[in-house]
């Protein structure tokens, strides 16, 4: 057996059901969850703690509408770096530190980093791009505006294929 994988410490169907429910809306009472799952409130709470301690639930966060903060503009910037100078990880960390940057992906292929940023104005976007090219090792950038965004109705747990579900649940023949 391999011990290198730090995948979930034995999740069952009940755990998955809890995750599917709360990953989209944590504003449910323990009682509601308990009723839906036919277990007691304490059991739900016990499992929630286990999922938090086990790192399955990384955090509980309030999702803020960017539009309400005036952030009406999003952009995707491809960043090419010169591979000679410095390690990519450092550049990635510098990119993600920039104000307005929401997410950074380091990718294989001709593009090295994909940077998603969210700003109030074109000026602010230009500002971000300037700060990106100022980073040591950055060769060139290419940006495109985001016209519209689509978010899945359900999160990761609910989007698992049947194949993926069973792979999560029975990692050992108990």
């Amino acid at each position: 057996m391999n011990d290198t994988l730090r995948t979930a410490p034995d999740l069952d169907e009940t755990d998955l059901a809890i995750l599917e429910r709360i990953e989209d809306d944590f504003d449910v009472s323990l009682e509601t969850l308990a009723d839906q799952l036919d277990i007691s409130k304490s059991a739900v709470h016990y499992r929630l703690n286990k999922l938090k301690d086990g790192g399955v639930i990384q955090s509980v966060t309030a999702d803020i509408d960017p539009l309400m903060l005036g952030l009406e503009m999003a952009a995707i910037t491809d960043v090419m770096v010169s591979h000679e100078s410095g390690y990519s990880e450092d550049i990635g960390e510098r990119l993600v530190e920039l104000d307005g940057v929401e997410k950074v992906y380091y990718t294989m292929g001709d593009v090295d980093f994909v940077v998603v940023s969210r700003v109030q104005s074109r000026d602010q976007l230009n500002n971000i791009i300037e700060r990106i090219v100022a980073i040591d090792g950055v060769n060139s950038t290419s940006s495109k505006f985001v016209m519209q965004e689509f978010d899945p109705e359900h999160g990761v747990a609910a989007n698992l294929t049947d194949e993926a579900r069973s792979a999560v649940i029975d990692h050992t023949g108990e």
Copy 2:
């Protein structure tokens, strides 16, 4: 005055401070927040409700570690569509409905959609790509693997520039 913007219904510095705190970790007691902000617990709760009702806080969600569900592979797929057939919005909605798809951006420029997906295996990624090209109107795709991801330490509210902050707070001379 324009009335078309549905930006935040008058946020003040206290609201922003609350948002900055809970967008990264909602697991704080009202008492802690009240102490940090020098207002009463009830006042914090009152403001939280106002922020939820006003749509500033869209939802409270549990963030799940994809790795714990075996989703160790992420990919970014550029999708080109033929502009003659159908509206882009329909294609975007079909893309985001696919299992494993985490986010879809509709962009200006040569690339029409940028699709971020998260899967357990290369097979599952191939499966997603197959379903993408099967969508009516999709011309071609180009995918790249994500080797590493970088997330900001703080969320949108904390990443506002000073310029953006003041733009949020004093939208009317009260």
